[in-house]
């Protein structure tokens, strides 16, 4: 009984001694996907897609990075707090990129000199 008194309220409900072992075949499947996508992105860059090239390249990179984060870095199997922290970081990075680029993309609209 006494030990329950000291248990913190934020302690996860699942038993602590449960270890998550990600099956090795998951690692090999992710690895195969990453290698294939590397050569796909190299090949597709040689095709003229106009302004779409960079979006295709970035989409493939984001997908590859997601595979690494979710499976190699175990975030898929992580605690909700870990997922929230990762999400916060990505949100912060998105703020940096999109707020600055919103300025860069739209400066020409008003004909402001000196861009």
């Amino acid at each position: 009984m006494a030990s329950n008194v000291h248990r913190p309220a934020h302690a996860p409900t699942e038993p602590y001694d449960v270890e998550h072992h990600v099956p090795k075949r998951v690692y090999f499947a992710v690895f195969a996907a990453l290698i294939c996508l590397t050569w796909v992105t190299a090949w597709v860059s040689t095709i003229d897609l106009g302004s779409l090239n960079i979006y295709v390249a970035l989409s493939i990179a984001v997908f590859k990075a997601s595979l690494v984060v979710l499976f190699f870095m175990h975030v898929k199997y992580g605690t909700r707090l870990t997922k929230m922290i990762v999400g916060c970081g990505l949100f912060w990075l998105a703020m940096l990129l999109f707020i600055v680029m919103a300025d860069i993309w739209t400066r020409g609209w008003m004909g402001v000199p000196g861009r």
Partner: protein
Amino acid sequence: MDSETAVVEQKPHHHPGYGETRHHFENAAQQKDASTIGMWVFLLTELMFFGGMFMAYFVYRQWYPIAFASASNKTNLWLGAFNTTVLICSSLTMALGVHAASMGKKKLLILFLFLTLVLGGAFLGVKGYEYHDKWVHHEVPGAHFDCEDCKDAAHAPLFFSLYFGMTGLHASHMIIGFGILLVLIWQAYKGKFTSKWYTPIEMFGLYWHFVDIVWIFLFPLLYLIDRSGRGLH
């Protein structure tokens, strides 16, 4: 009564040894959760560190698309793709190393850490060759920069500055990782890690995969701009 007895039995200034659960944690799993969160917070500071350089890259690429496309075609597509493959292989061996550690397989852990070290070294070797190639061809920004067939040559140094800045910051992370790997291999050899406690292996795995992710973005952004040559004619 039980708790009082425990206090008496414990040494008055007992400091937990390597890998033992510290007194301020409920148990080993909570300690590991704290390590994981701490490592992720560190990686987010790294994300913003690299993020600033990516930000600069996107701004200048938006302003000088011809210079960036032309200068990007100076990089070696095959070496870039090969190095990306090498780095992804090293991420696989790292993930398998963490897996071996969690199973308590010491020899397998050392093998996978060693393979990760070798692949990381191979990546740095190829990177060094590429840097040398750039140096020989006067593509390093500065007094000796000379890119005669670059389009918009006045702004070509911007691309190469970002190329060396971003790949250099990435390579410095690889070199630091290389050093940490040597320590981890030594510790694994000494039997510091068990299936119950291998937190440094797992945390280093997070770092190594993060560095891999940075390269996953650097490869298309630096090597693959306008490879069809559309904007260069």
